[in-house]
Structure formats: C-alpha cells, structure tokens
C-alpha cells in the first residue's frame, strides 16, 4: 500500500477519545497538507471531509499496523516520518504543524484498542492481507462435508475426533512460539518426512492443544526424533510401546500439566492433548499408522496419548535434575512406555519394606524371568513417597536399594527353569544379573494426596542402545 503524503488519522466512533478529536479533523483538513481519515466502524464519522475513508475490511488499518485509535501519522515522500496515538496535545500539535490545535482540550487522553485487534479479528486480517508464513497445502472441503468427518475420511485421526485445522486456528497456535513456521525440526519416522514447526502446529490444533502448549509439543517431537530414542522402532514394533512424555520444571505448572490426582488418567487438557499431538505428528507427518508400519500385536491405550508431569518435591531430586538439567529448567523426558501396572502396598511403613514391594513388582516387567530387556518408570505416589522422605531416603538411595534388590543369580531365571521355557540364555548360568540395565529404571513422584499405591510403567522390551533410550530435552520456545 502506498501511503498518501500528508496526515493520516485512524479512528473509530466507539472510542471516546476519537469522538473528542473529531472536531479537530476539519481544522486539519483545512491545513496545507492533505488529510486522510481512516474510520473503522462508522461511515458517518468525519463524514463530509474529502479525505474520509470507511475502512470496512480494516485492510488499511491492518497495513498501517495500527494498534490504538486515534492514531495520527505523518507521511512524507511516501514514508511514515512520525506517529502518535491517543490524544497527546503536544504530539498532535507538533506532528500536524498546527501550534494551536486542540488548545482547549485536555493535554492527554489515552486512546482505545484498534478494531484490528478485536478477538478473532487479528488472525483473520493476517490471513487476508498479511504474510502468514503458512505453506501447508490447503484442503478444500465440499459444501456438504462435515469438517470433523472430513478429517476422519482423510485418515488424519487416531480414531477420536480432531479439531479441524483451519488456517485461523493454526495461526493462533503458531502464536505460541517465536519459531518460524517453515523451520524444519527434523525428519519423522517411519517415512522420514521433514517436519516443520507449521506441521507440528497443525497437528497440535487437531489434538486440542492451546497455543501455550506448543513449545512442549515441539520439544516432545524433537526429543522423539533424537536417534537414541528410536522412534522408528517404537512405532513399528509388534510390542506395546508408545512415547510417554514426562514434563518437569516450571513450565509444567505454568501450562497446567497434571501431576496430581489422576495424573496418569483422563480429564486434563494439557496431558491429553500434548501426548496426543506427538502421536498425531507421527501418524500424519511420519505416516506411522497401525496395521501399516505400526505392527503392534496389541498396542496400549497410551498410544492415544500419554503425558504427565512430575509432582516435584524439594526433598526429592526431580527427574530432569537427575538427568543433568537445572532445577529451574523445563524439560520433557520421552520414554518408550507400555501400560500402567498398579503397585498396591497399604501396610509398609518403613522404606526397607516398601522398597522390597517395589522390587517384587518390578520383577514382573516383561516377564519375571527376563532381565535387562525393558526399562521401567516407577511412579511413586505422595503417600508412598512420604515413607521414604520421613526416613530420610533420597530418590537416589531408593534407586540404589532397588538396584541391589533386583540383582540376583541368573540360575533362577534361566530358560526352562521352573517349568517355563522363557528365560535367560544358559550362557548366563552362575552369574549375577540386574533386572534393569544401568540407567534403565527411572523414578518420578506423581499422584493424588491419598492412596498407598504407586505405579510401574514398563518400557519397551528392546530398551537400551539396541532399541530405545529415554531422551530428555529442554523446552525452549
């Protein structure tokens, strides 16, 4: 848009300050320089002035980048050289070159928000007149198509309805990050398709995310694409695993990722939609669909979504600190998780007894006669955690104790022993074996304030360098 030389005033009738300055416009129009009055809401405002324009579509206001009304702009040689907003008598007199302009008006009156910033309007204007940076292919639906059914028909959903990813919704989602929409964050298996910030935002919209969740989703996708995590294998395995997202740090509380009552269950938008967005990226961008490359025999409900936060406690080192990040950093830790197995112990009141319970239950991961196969996450509830805290046991001490309790003679676990063909190879006879590989047992604290229960989330039986290693990534933006 070429700017007309002279003065430009942007105003709306609804704004009392604009009404206050309306009588001055005639004086400005009689000055030496041309005056353009851009009116946002009422063609009768400043009617009769030759330079009055009704900006019904708000395109002019949008292109001028107006945030407040009234705004006074001076243009010289097609370039803006001065601008003020609201009524500041000195500014108006200086910019207009009329030293007595509005001499009887108060010195200062703040303006109002421009109509271009009304709720829902900004993204619409951005789409119509701006450079959105969006480059995804558009899909036009038929007049009779229901948008939600259209998403099912195109194979974009996990079996539940998704929020139709309209351009306006995607623009709003992208406001959640300063990153450019066309930034490629990696290649998503199994197709190894390049994934942009925009594609993540589209899938985050579909999953039901709020824009403030987008940095967490981006971090989760980036963590899933780290080679050690082995997302390709997790996707195509016949076993159960799917990516579990554990959130740590202040961001978890800021956006409301649940770490309390029903932390592993339903009912929290952040938990539900962040985990789901990651899965939709793998499905839609990566092409990972069950029955195709995803060959899971049974799968697990966590493959719809699986995300929770650690209930961090000052006395127990949180997971991200254990994994080398600052306590005030926010992180996502991705774990190739299967299902949730409850640990019920309502009688142990000493850490020694409760640790034995945990060890006994952890032996069942994969199979009681297998070792160093799947990793595991032990989710310790506050009630169980208190047993350790009151006895002065740190998380590290509990881990040491579990490692000790879970190391034992291979002979009892060999294939065929106990009348069970499954088991460890005969070559391990006579050796001591740990249940989990070093680093293969993670402990987090989560859950509601009542209940002497904890939970085990078993990992993919191909844990470790051959399959998947948990990956922690800082949430930046």
């Amino acid at each position: 848009m070429t700017l007309p030389d002279g003065l430009i005033v942007v105003a709306k009738r609804e704004c009392p300050t604009c009404t206050l300055v309306e009588p001055l416009l005639r004086q400005l129009a009689q000055g030496a320089e041309p005056l353009t009055v851009i009116v946002q809401d009422d063609p009768a405002f400043a009617a009769g002035l030759p330079g009055a324009v009704f900006d019904e579509t708000l395109e002019r206001s949008f292109r001028l980048g107006v945030e407040f009304v009234p705004t006074l702009i001076r243009v010289s040689g097609g370039r803006e050289v001065a601008r003020t907003h609201g009524w500041h008598r000195d500014d108006w007199q200086q910019i207009s070159g009329l030293p007595d302009l509005g001499a009887t008006l108060p010195a200062l009156r703040p303006g109002c928000a421009s109509k271009t910033l009304d709720p829902g309007v900004a993204e619409d204007l951005q789409l119509r007149f701006g450079n959105t940076g969006l480059s995804a292919r558009t899909v036009e639906l038929g007049d009779a198509e229901d948008p939600i059914e259209a998403c099912f028909d195109r194979g974009w959903t996990d079996g539940l309805p998704v929020v139709p990813p309209t351009p306006v919704r995607v623009l709003r989602m992208l406001a959640g990050t300063p990153r450019r929409p066309d930034e490629v964050i990696g290649r998503v298996p199994p197709d190894l398709a390049p994934c942009t910030v925009e594609k993540v935002a589209i899938n985050a919209v579909m999953a039901g995310c709020k824009p403030e969740y987008l940095p967490l989703v981006l971090a989760a996708v980036e963590a899933a694409l780290v080679d050690e995590f082995g997302m390709h294998g997790i996707l195509c395995t016949t076993m159960f695993a799917g990516p579990l997202v554990i959130v740590n740090g202040p961001m978890a509380r800021r956006v409301g990722v649940n770490s309390g009552v029903n932390a592993l269950g339903q009912g929290h938008r952040a938990n539900a939609s962040i985990g789901r967005a990651l899965q939709l990226v793998i499905r839609n961008v990566g092409g990972g669909r069950p029955g195709e490359v995803d060959r899971a025999t049974l799968g697990t409900p966590g493959k719809y979504t699986f995300c929770f936060a650690e209930a961090e406690d000052s006395a127990w080192e949180p997971l991200h600190v254990q994994r080398g990040f600052a306590r005030d950093a926010s992180t996502v830790t991705l774990f190739a998780g299967e299902g949730v197995q409850g640990v019920v112990d309502q009688k142990s009141r000493t850490p020694e007894s409760l640790a034995r319970t945990f060890a006994a239950c952890l032996r069942a991961v994969d199979h009681p006669k297998l070792a160093m196969a799947g990793d595991a996450v032990l989710v310790v509830s506050p009630d169980h955690g208190r047993v350790f805290l009151e006895a002065g046991w740190s998380k590290a001490r509990l881990l040491d104790e579990l490692t000790r309790l879970l190391t034992g003679p291979a002979d009892a676990l060999l294939a065929g022993v106990g009348g069970i063909a499954e088991g460890l190879p005969p070559a391990l006879a006579g050796q001591q074996v740990p249940k989990f590989r070093p680093g293969g047992l993670l402990i987090v604290r989560a859950g509601g304030g009542a209940g002497l229960f904890s939970a085990i989330i078993a990992g993919w039986a191909a844990s470790g360098p051959v399959g998947s290693i948990p990956v922690t990534k800082e949430i930046t933006a």
């Binding site: 789409l127 969006l134 995804a136 292919r137 558009t138 899909v139 036009e140 639906l141 038929g142 007049d143 198509e145 948008p147 259209a150 998403c151 028909d153 195109r154 974009w156 139709p164 990813p165 309209t166 351009p167 306006v168 995607v170 998503v188 197709d191 398709a193 390049p194 994934c195 925009e198 594609k199 589209i202 899938n203 579909m206 939709l280 839609n284 961008v285 990566g286 092409g287």
Partner: protein, 94 residues
C-alpha cells in the same frame, strides 16, 4: 467460499489431496459379491443378469434390497453387506 471449510494438510503431503479409490481386487476368486437392489424400477432386471454372469464364474453372490431408493440404506443393512461381502454392486438408475 466459506473459510471454515478450508483446512491445512497435517500430513507430509506425499499423497494427493483427492481421496484414492479403494484398490480393485486382482481377481474375484474366493470373494463374496453383494448385489444391492436399491428398489428403483427395473433395477432388478440389470442386477439379475449381473448376478447370473458372476455366478457363472463361480463367484459367491449375495442379494440385498434397500427398502426405498429415496433414502440411504439402513445402517443394519449396510453393516450386514459389509460383514458378509468384500465387494458390492448396486444399480443407481432406472
């Protein structure tokens, strides 16, 4: 155009936007074919002949009939056809 009816593609855009037709089976051997009469006048004449030709090839043919051509098939009928057959043929016009 109603802007709410434009969506942004969430996929890697490796396949066309237009939905692909279901794959054609390489042969009818061992498949069950539903012949659905939508109750349009004389549709049965055409469908009887189609069924006869298919049966002559040894194809299993199951016959169904919609109560009226003016409405979509009842859900139970659609589900029955889907459960009992791999292919369906219907005659749309008089």
């Amino acid at each position: 155009m109603n802007p709410s009816l434009v969506l942004l593609d969430p996929t890697s855009e490796r396949t066309p936007v237009a939905r692909a037709l279901a794959l054609r089976p390489p042969s009818l051997q061992g498949l069950a074919v539903a012949v659905l009469d939508i109750s349009k006048a004389r549709g049965n004449v055409f469908l009887d002949r189609v069924a006869e030709l298919l049966a002559a090839q040894g194809v299993t043919v199951n016959r169904y009939r919609k109560p009226t051509f003016t409405r979509p098939a009842p859900t139970a009928l659609a589900q029955q056809i889907a459960a009992e057959n791999q292919l369906v043929i219907e005659g749309l016009a008089d």
